[in-house]
């Protein structure tokens, strides 16, 4: 079952967004939400409640690993890191997403 809590996101894009935001290094859950919010200039918001199920599904699939560390303000936090498999997944999903968006745009402009 895909997360249904963010209807404004295209199905499956949540994984893509998480993978992309982790591609520059490990982050904890809140930082992922923040990175996506900031990068989209608040255009995209991930519901906090649906973030953790998604992260855990990705752990099961072996795209991510997690470890406990210390946050920027010295609190114990759980950091997620991309695995090589996760990086491959990011590449394929990003490519697919690009093709999809371009196709939709083409339809919007010409049809």
């Amino acid at each position: 079952m895909e997360p249904h809590t963010i209807p404004e996101l295209l199905p499956g894009t949540l994984y893509l967004l998480i993978l992309r935001s982790l591609s520059r290094g490990p982050l904890h859950g809140y930082a992922i939400v923040k990175r996506i919010k900031d990068a989209s200039r608040e255009g995209l918001r991930i519901e906090d409640g649906s973030l953790y199920p998604a992260l855990n599904r990705m752990l099961v699939k072996g795209w991510l690993t997690s470890e406990w560390g210390v946050s920027e303000n010295n609190r114990k936090a759980r950091f997620y890191r991309l695995t090589p498999e996760g990086r491959r997944q990011l590449d394929t999903e990003a490519g697919e997403f690009d093709r999809l968006v371009r196709a939709i745009q083409m339809v919007m402009r010409t049809a």
Partner: protein, 869 residues
């Protein structure tokens, strides 16, 4: 790949579930705290910021549930709870559970044991290094070659080593003042090196060593008391000192296969050897063959032999596994077929047991159909119910298989190391292994589906409304039909089992009654072997004469005679030459193969073999006197037709002429199963013997009482000679072994199958009667007599039994045909008498199974029955 990673991750998660909850809580707390910190920086007060952050996060419970479900394997957890529930429901029905597990365990125990034994006897790998690159070589269509030819082949260095062994040798071991016959395998010096046989203690035999021996674990423990300092000990073998240099491990499996186990390996000129070659790395057998061909042609040039050409029929065969069996040819087929039959028979028993369990589960599923209907009407899915019912049969199958495996371990440990009473030293080393485990798991799976699937599907199919309306009391016609079909099937296959079992029991009865053509009740036989080379034929003949005189002088001995072969004994077997005979040395030739035995004058009297025409041998038939022979009836008829052969001359295939002086009645020579076998007797003293003789002794009292006397008398003649004395009946145990084994296993399987089938019949009849108590009550109230009720129940039983017996007999009549290969010719599989007996036994047992249900039906009191709910 990714799939398995995922499963692995999930399974790993199962083990840290409690940590997961704690960590999730901590992570969410951090998340909310981080958001609250941010909100506080934006200007909210601490408490407001925290409240706001919590609100934004939403329901932590839902998030927790969704997160958790990311990891869960629903089916696994469901299975756990299903099994738990099944265990509870089986505990409540202890009788059912015990009956089901017990019958499955016996069936599976028998089946896996046969599997283990067959695997060990037929497919085991010999103890050696890399058996794939080791091949057995036969040249000139013969697996045996003389030593000079062996040396020639080895000197070519065509392979990474060529070794030879001779398993057929007997060595005399002198221990204290007694000598024993040992099965000693003589090997070439490089044998251990080429084959790569692991030793448990000491070291293997090395090239150019002499007078050393490696002993087997069995010989070490049984004859040397497991002496820990055995390495270095000296054994007097055939009058020479041999140093024990190594002990083989307990699970040593010899290259010869089939459980053949000698007492020791020793370096001594083997005379002739079987060849084993180690192929160089990467060389295929085809390439090895191509390399061997020209060498064999060279061999033909160097050692020309009129009787065989070495380069003809060159063959390289595997030394282990299925391949050895395929290439084993003639000898292996009946053995393999016998095991296949045993596996099939025991599998049928498992099936009958399954049918019983299935029938019990079916009955239960129908009585519970009201519960199922309620659960389905409340939204429970049928799949879920089916799974739950299957969990019950899975549990039963697992318990049954587990108990069966324990039975298997116990039985095989009994069988393993048992010295099978054959003159051949055969011992099987049966150990549980992964194959057995895999086989059992597969069996458990099959049993689960066979017992559970149909009851589960049928039991849950009843429509919601129907089951509730009927009150769940009636099984419905579908349920009856299915259980009836199961019982008919059970009865039919138990007919098949009974037919097979009966044939083998009759075979055993026939074999034991021993119409082998001679009398064994007052006979004993001593096998006498002097150290090779210590007598000339003339001196040995004098020794045998002395031995006979001393034996005859013993009180209680009626007669004594030497012989070169013991009938019905594969190890002391007859020579079986054959070729063109020329009666009256004329031009007419008759081709025949015959069993040859050299016997003394009293042999026929001792064995109770009547001389039908002419005379027995006389003391005067010795070297120098005219050569004479006695034929058996079969050969006399083949050579001379109906005319009297006595006085005629016969030219043997080797161009020797001998005069026929008598015709002896036919008897069995090599196996009880043989038919129309030919035999030639020659006078013992007209042949050259120099080391070996059997003494046949006829006693006045039971032969067992004379064994020691005879043994001591013979042992006193020459201390170096090995003597082994047994009552004749014991010696024939080997010949009877296949019949005994077959009768014991198949007879007990047949009885067991019949028992299970009759329990099945009993269960169905009793259940049907109980379901119809109300109906019977009404009938009785309306005036049905006890005779009518009787007819009702007995009629049902009769219908089932007739149908089962009909199917069973039809199948059995065809299926038992090929069994004739295991039976003596006098027991014919097609004999209608067999089937009459089988049907009678089944009718009797079925009758017994009907008694209780009938009694129950007759006891029905209409007043009680009408209130019966």
């Amino acid at each position: 790949m990714a799939f398995w990673n995922e499963i692995g991750n999930r399974v790993a998660w199962l083990f840290r579930r409690s940590r997961f909850d704690r960590e999730f809580e901590e992570e969410v707390r951090f998340h909310i705290q981080a958001r609250a910190d941010e909100l506080e920086q934006a200007g909210l007060t601490g408490a407001d910021a925290l409240r706001q952050a919590r609100r934004e996060f939403g329901s932590t419970l839902r998030s927790w549930e969704e997160t958790r479900s990311a990891w869960q394997m629903r089916w696994l957890e469901d299975l756990g709870s299903d099994l738990h529930y099944a265990a509870r429901s089986l505990r409540r029905n202890r009788a059912l559970a015990l009956a089901a597990v017990g019958s499955l365990a016996l069936g599976i125990g028998a089946n896996t044991t046969i599997f283990s034994v067959a695997r060990e006897a037929l497919f085991s790998q010999p103890s050696c290094r890399d058996f794939q690159s080791l091949v057995q070589i036969s040249v000139g269509g013969n697996t045996w070659v003389p030593m000079s030819q062996y040396r020639f082949l080895e000197d070519t260095h065509a392979f990474d080593g060529l070794a030879g062994m001779n398993i057929q040798m007997v060595v005399n071991w002198r221990d204290g003042n007694r000598s024993y016959r040992l099965a000693g395998t003589r090997v070439t010096g490089n044998f251990f090196e080429v084959v790569g046989i692991p030793v448990a203690m000491g070291r293997p035999i090395e090239r150019s060593e002499s007078n050393v021996a490696v002993i087997t674990h069995g010989f070490w423990t049984k004859h040397l008391g497991g002496d820990p300092n055995v390495v270095g000990r000296t054994l007097a073998l055939d009058g020479e000192p041999y140093t024990v240099i190594g002990v083989l491990p307990r699970d040593h499996r010899m290259l010869a296969g089939f459980g053949f186990t000698p007492d020791l390996y020793l370096t001594k000129d083997p005379g002739e050897v079987m060849l084993y070659a180690r192929l160089p790395r990467g060389m295929t057998r085809q390439a090895a063959y191509t390399r061997l061909q020209p060498i064999c042609r060279e061999l033909d040039r160097v050692y020309p032999d009129v009787n065989r050409q070495w380069a003809k029929e060159v063959r390289l065969s595997a030394v282990g596994g299925v391949e050895r069996l395929q290439e084993g040819g003639q000898e292996a087929i009946p053995v393999a077929a016998f095991f296949v039959m045993l596996v099939v028979v025991t599998a049928i028993v498992v099936l009958i047991a399954c049918a019983n369990v299935s029938s019990l589960l079916l009955a239960r599923a129908f009585t519970r159909s009201r519960e199922f209907a309620i659960r389905m009407s409340l939204g429970g899915s049928r799949g879920r119910l089916v799974r739950q019912l299957l969990a019950e049969s899975l549990l039963l199958a697992l318990l049954g298989t587990g108990a069966g495996l324990l039975l298997n371990l116990w039985l095989t440990s009994l069988l393993s190391g048992v010295h099978i009473p054959t003159p051949l030293p055969i011992e099987l080393v049966i150990q549980p292994d992964r194959m057995l485990l895999a086989y059992s798991v597969a069996l458990a799976f099959v049993v689960t589906l066979a017992t559970g699937l149909v009851p589960a599907l049928k039991g849950t199919r009843a429509g919601i409304g129907g089951a509730l309306k009927e009150g769940g009391r009636q099984a419905g016609p579908a349920g009856y039909a299915l259980r009836n079909a199961l019982v008919v099937g059970q009865l039919a296959v138990s007919i098949l089992l009974l037919s097979v079992g009966l044939l083998f029991i009759r075979n055993l009865m026939y074999a034991t009654s021993f119409n082998a053509g001679f009398d064994t009740t007052h006979t004993l036989v001593a096998t006498y072997q002097t150290v090779w080379g210590s007598y000339t034929p003339r001196k040995f003949a004098a020794l045998v004469d002395t031995a006979l005189d001393r034996l005859r002088a013993l009180p209680g001995v009626e007669a004594a005679s030497p012989a070169s072969a013991v009938p019905l004994n594969p190890f002391l077997a007859f020579n079986r030459p054959g070729g063109q005979f020329r009666p009256d040395s004329g031009s007419r030739t008759v081709r025949a193969q015959y069993n040859s035995n050299a016997v003394g004058p009293d042999y026929f009297r001792i064995m109770g073999i009547p001389i039908l025409q002419g005379r027995a041998f006389a003391d005067s038939d010795r070297i120098g006197a005219p050569e004479v022979v006695i034929l058996n009836e079969n050969l006399a008829r083949r050579l001379f037709g109906n005319s009297n052969p006595v006085g005629h001359t016969l030219r043997f295939p080797n161009n020797r002429d001998a005069r026929v002086v008598g015709v002896a009645r036919n008897c069995k020579y090599v196996t009880l199963g043989e038919d129309h076998a030919s035999a030639v007797y020659e006078p013992f003293f007209q042949q050259n013997h120099s080391a070996f003789a059997h003494f046949f002794v006829r006693t006045r009292s039971a032969p067992e009482t004379m064994v020691r006397k005879v043994d001591e008398t013979l042992a006193g003649l020459d201390g170096g000679a090995a003597v082994e004395t047994h009552a004749m009946g014991e010696v024939f145990a080997g010949a009877l072994l296949p019949s005994r084994l077959g009768a014991a296993i198949l007879g007990s399987m047949a009885l067991f199958g019949l028992l299970l089938a009759s329990i099945g019949l009993y269960g169905v009849l009793l259940y049907a009667t109980q379901q119809r108590i109300r109906e019977i009550g009404i009938r009785v109230a309306l005036g049905a007599t006890p005779a009518n009720v009787l007819a009702m129940v007995v009629g049902q039983s009769l219908r089932l039994v007739t149908a089962g017996a009909g199917f069973g007999l039809a199948v059995a009549a065809i299926a038992v045909r090929p069994l004739s290969m295991f039976l003596v010719p006098e027991v014919r599989p097609a004999d209608p008498m067999n089937f009459v007996m089988v049907a009678a036994v089944l009718a009797l047992v079925a009758g017994l199974a009907t008694v209780a249900p009938t009694a129950r039906a007759l006891r029905v009191d209409p007043a009680v029955a009408l209130r019966h709910e």
